[in-house]
């Protein structure tokens, strides 16, 4: 039985491996390649001087001439760098479009000519665009440091930390999400190219909707709700990391006492003398009893204890 399974798996793998090129060639759009317009020199001419750039572009999706959305399906290098015939004739005084010397606005206008859908559909007017960031602030098409995304740093964390060092540092706290372990990335939660949500969050329309894409059990709605939970998860949690259990922004009971000042136990000083005897300060503190702090579906769950 096991041998049969292994055999079947190998057969499927072989079929896929051998069959995909056949499928691909069957649906080949038979592109004739770019038709050069007046003033354009052609990619072949560019790489006679700019050695190695053909190899660097071939590593990327930009190189697929048979995809009509790529630069290579249009004017090649000149799709992004502008017509180069004049530059070929006078390399010293006529310069093509050089992204390192262009304003952020002009760089972005060039890239968004094509990158205007999907992930990038809301770039215009986004927080990063309006702070004068260019696509080339974070990306390098020809000399990327990362394995994916053409990033100018080896990982997203290293890249984002160039401006958001406080957030990156929080990933080192004892309570953190699995970002530094490589299981999540900054872009798992954020779409840095623009978003319909606040704080460039990727999913949903509120902070909570982003959080509940993974923590769906807390989505509710439940019979008994805890108002600040419905309002925003970050009222109590710091998603980038914290030294407190469950990434709380402050330690319980102090966090809870920021809102609960009613008579008896919420408004009591839990000091060192009570440390050994009071479960309101040791261990899980308030949530020892109020365990269903995110909301309860128990008919007697009004104090979030059931």
């Amino acid at each position: 039985m096991r041998r049969r399974l292994v055999g079947t798996a190998f057969g499927v793998w072989l079929l896929v491996w051998l069959g995909l090129p056949a499928i691909a060639s069957a649906s080949d759009p038979k592109s004739k390649g770019p038709q050069l317009q007046q003033g354009y020199a052609g990619a072949e001419v560019c790489v006679t001087c700019h050695e190695g750039f053909d190899a660097s572009i071939n590593r990327t999706k930009h190189a697929f001439a048979k995809d009509p959305r790529t630069p290579m399906a249009k004017e090649g290098c000149e799709s992004c760098h502008g017509p180069g015939e004049a530059h070929v004739q006078d390399p010293t005084s006529v310069k093509p479009r050089m992204f390192t010397k262009m304003s952020a606005r002009d760089v972005n206008d060039t890239c968004t000519t094509c990158h205007n859908r999907g992930e990038h559909a809301m770039w215009k007017g986004s927080q990063h665009e309006s702070r004068n960031l260019a696509c080339t602030t974070c990306h390098s098409v020809h000399q990327p440091q990362s394995e994916k995304g053409f990033l100018k740093a080896k990982t997203q964390i290293l890249l984002c930390a160039k401006c958001h060092v406080d957030k990156a540092n929080k990933l080192d706290r004892s309570g953190h999400m699995p970002v530094r372990e490589g299981k999540l990335e900054c872009m798992s939660c954020h779409n840095v190219h623009g978003s319909k949500n606040v704080r460039l969050l990727r999913a949903g329309f509120t902070i909570n909707e982003t959080c509940t894409t993974c923590h769906a059990e807390k989505r509710g709605p439940t019979l008994w709700e805890h108002a600040p939970v419905r309002e925003s998860c970050v009222t109590c949690h710091d998603p980038h990391g914290s030294s407190n259990e469950r990434m709380l922004v402050a330690k319980a009971p102090f966090l809870c006492q920021r809102c609960h000042v009613s008579t008896r136990h919420p408004a009591t000083i839990y000091d060192k003398t009570q440390l050994a005897t009071s479960n309101r300060v040791f261990g899980r503190s308030c949530v020892s009893c109020h365990a269903q702090i995110h909301g309860s579906n128990h008919p007697s769950g009004n104090f979030l204890t059931r």
């Binding site: 190695g52 004068n132 004892s174 000083i269 479960n279």
Partner: protein, 739 residues
């Protein structure tokens, strides 16, 4: 002599700079067959695989050391990559740590210009504790039982929980997420995409959870996690250079296979009838029952339209309409057989929130150096759950309240409107100056402020694109005010009327950030940042009153050659909050300011990150060294009011968290196809935590016996989940084969 050194050093830097500048005109050409395969669309397969092993030695908390990783000793076949690309199709398949709990597999197929298909299988383990012990047995999912003899003798008073602790069994407390994701995009033509995505997340294991019988009878259990979330998305997107239109549907289904948790009372073998103090003096039920996370669904339909407008503008609008629903069967009010049945208003929750989201964004550049950007967001979370009449309730399965004492649930709704407008002037070289205003209006139900309005003014200056200097500065001033204050809501639940919930309270906030990067030469860069924020809650007599934070960092990047790279960053942060409270019983105490007290929190954080890359430090050998140090000290200090009548508090010890990680990674190229690598990781974590540390949680049965202190009856039974230090050494050896 010194002058000569300076001149020599400067000359070397200038030369290095010149070499780098020259290098920008050309890029290295592929040197061997594999590099050529990567840098061409030849259809040649290439890839790599590591064979080796990993070995760890841990002293202390081995669970926290591993946390989201699986670092068990064993052989490795890691970083498996299979890649093939030609002009018409590509395939990339990869595997990371196959066979381990944190394994991951991905496959990416593209039929150029037609189809993109992506599959990802990602396992995320969470190792919570290996210290955990319990007296309970889980006889079926979510049902925890104790030996009857223990309950009987504890009830009779002949034993206490402490007498049975020796028979607690150890178990590893962990969960794991298995996430399967499939994305498919079909490109019908140059402008039209059909997209489909399905993600299935299975989560299994257990987490520490409070399961209390009341104040003096507190239990901690490994709450079972057996959940599945399925998300599906489908959309159609048409876009060209001037316009975009998309329509789509998103659906999400959460399913929890364990609906309730039932557990025995270690102090009781028989139920007791309702008694006013049952939950605080141990005269409660023999068992309890809690509702766990209910199944729920969420669905949306949405559409986006985006169009180019005159004045180099763009208008984008987004509309989504959807609902979240939950209709789980409701449990009875109690499992206590001696408490009369309290009728339920209905058998299922019938909970529903309808959500409407509308977003309009307009960007225009009427003149080249000027951009205007306006955005309006509308989000309505309309809770449509029908009223739930209460005919009574049962607290902690021990105390019956009649209908007059049982307030019905309040189903929160919130409607938010945000309007932001920014004007950006970028007439200066490489620089833009932005001035903006934002208004955030929230309209809520069942909260002390039914409405809040926050006005924000901001100004920022960003100088980017200059190769020598980058400067970013932002100042923001926000004022939030609440309207329609309902102090009765506070008084009804015994809260101080001067208390304000800080998430909606009146607030003045000022924030300033500055980031500067200076690169005098292309091989050397300095960076520094500062962020200062102040929040005041001027109308909050009680609750959170102010928050402040100060963050500073400085770093240097030094890349003297292609072979050497050094990066060093130091960051220092300080956080502070002040909150106010009053210890008071109803009556005179309730209004006595001498019973006020305050919690003054101070958090200090230091971070050091250092990376040294040394390529070809020895023949065919690369070395990478990293150091990462994070040191956090949190102090909570109690302060008392002048002329206080409260006893002087004994201050709690600071909470300390320090993590040091140092790694060395060496790679030696044996041949063009073969590399030998070795890594060593040193990790040292130190912690002192007054609530969760070893000095406080000395046993699973608490309060513990303390020398010289009269024995307090043990009534708390925990799991032994604590914060404790670890020191770990990890070695990884690998032989990498590349083809």
């Amino acid at each position: 002599m010194t002058r000569t050194r300076v001149v020599s050093f400067s000359s070397a830097l200038v030369l290095t700079c010149a070499v780098t500048a020259f290098a920008q005109a050309t890029l290295p050409k592929p040197t061997d067959g594999r590099e050529q395969a990567i840098s061409s669309l030849s259809g040649k397969a290439y890839g790599n695989i590591d064979f080796g092993g990993q070995f760890s030695s841990v002293t202390g908390d081995s669970a926290r050391f591993q946390r989201y990783r699986d670092l068990r000793d064993g052989p490795l076949a890691d970083n498996v990559l299979l890649n093939r690309r030609d002009e018409t199709w590509t395939l990339r398949a990869a595997a990371v740590k196959p066979g381990y709990r944190d394994q991951r597999f991905t496959a990416d197929y593209r039929l150029v210009g037609k189809v993109k298909a992506f599959f990802d299988w990602n396992q995320i383990p969470l190792f919570i504790s290996s210290d955990t012990r319990t007296l309970y047995s889980e006889v079926s999912p979510g049902v925890f039982r104790l030996p009857d003899a223990m309950q009987a003798s504890n009830q009779a008073g002949t034993t206490t929980i402490r007498d049975f602790v020796g028979s607690a069994t150890q178990f590893d407390l962990r969960t794991r997420r298995d996430i399967g994701q499939f994305d498919f995009v079909y490109t019908a033509n140059r402008d039209l995409d059909l997209k489909f995505n399905v993600t299935n997340t299975r989560r299994n294991g257990a987490i520490p959870y409070g399961a209390s019988f009341g104040f003096s009878n507190d239990i901690e259990l490994p709450a079972p996690i057996d959940q599945r979330t399925t998300d599906a998305k489908a959309s159609l997107e048409w876009a060209n250079r001037d316009a975009l239109v998309s329509i789509g549907w998103d659906g999400s289904w959460f399913n929890n296979n364990v609906d309730a948790m039932i557990w025995d009372n270690p102090l009781k073998i028989t139920d007791s009838p309702s008694y006013s103090s049952a939950y605080s003096d141990g005269r409660g039920p023999a068992q309890a029952r809690m509702a766990l996370w209910p199944d729920n669904t969420m669905q949306y339909v949405h559409g986006t339209g985006s169009f180019s407008t005159p004045a180099r503008g763009r208008l984008t609008a987004y509309l989504a309409v959807g609902a979240s629903k939950q209709n789980e069967a409701l449990l009875p009010h109690t499992i206590n057989s001696l408490i009369p049945v309290v009728p339920l208003a209905r058998p299922t929750a019938e909970a529903e929130i309808r959500n409407t989201m509308f977003n309009v964004l307009y960007v225009a550049r009427p003149f080249r150096p000027f951009m205007v950007n306006a955005r309006y967001r509308y989000n309505d979370l309309d809770n449509r759950t029908p009223p739930f009449e209460m005919f009574g309730r049962v607290r902690f399965d021990g105390v019956l309240d009649d209908a007059s004492a049982a307030e019905p649930p309040e189903f929160y709704s919130v409607k938010r409107e945000n309007f932001d407008v920014d004007g950006t002037f970028s007439g200066l070289p490489f620089t833009s100056i932005k001035v903006g205003y934002g208004s955030a209006i929230s309209d809520r139900t069942f909260r002390i402020f039914e409405k809040t309005n926050e006005n924000t003014f901001r100004v920022s200056a960003d100088s980017t694109g200059n190769r020598y200097v980058t400067l970013r500065a932002l100042f923001e001033n926000s004022v939030r005010t609440g309207k329609a204050l309902d102090e009765e809501l506070l008084i009804d639940i015994g809260e101080q009327p001067g208390m304000r919930h800080f998430d909606i309270a009146d607030r003045d906030r000022k924030r300033f950030t500055l980031i500067a990067t200076v690169m005098p030469i292309s091989t050397l860069g300095f960076n520094a940042s500062a962020a200062v924020a102040r929040e005041d809650y001027p109308e909050s007599e009680f609750g959170l009153r102010d928050v402040d934070s100060n963050q500073y960092s400085a770093g240097v990047d030094f890349l003297p050659s292609d072979r050497v790279g050094v990066n060093l960053t130091y960051a220092w942060e300080r956080y502070g909050t002040l909150s106010a409270s009053r210890t008071a019983s109803p009556g005179d105490q309730f209004t006595d300011p001498r019973r006020n007290w305050f919690t003054d929190y101070a958090g200090k954080v230091s971070n050091i990150d250092a990376v040294v890359d040394l390529a070809a430090v020895a023949p065919k050998t690369d070395v990478r060294l990293t150091i990462n140090w994070s040191d956090v000290k949190d102090t909570y200090t109690y302060l008392l009011a002048p002329q206080t009548t409260l006893p002087a508090p004994s201050q709690l010890a600071p909470v300390l968290n320090e993590l040091f990680r140092g790694t060395v990674d060496v790679t030696h190229r044996l041949t063009n196809r073969l590399r030998l690598g070795a890594s060593y990781w040193y990790e040292d974590y130190n912690t002192e935590d007054f609530a969760l540390g070893e000095l406080t949680l000395t046993d699973i049965a608490l309060p513990a016996v303390q020398p010289g202190v009269p024995v307090v009856p043990t009534s708390t039974l925990l799991l032994g989940y604590i914060y404790r230090p670890f020191t770990a050494h990890t070695g990884i050896v690998r032989l990498t084969y590349l083809w």
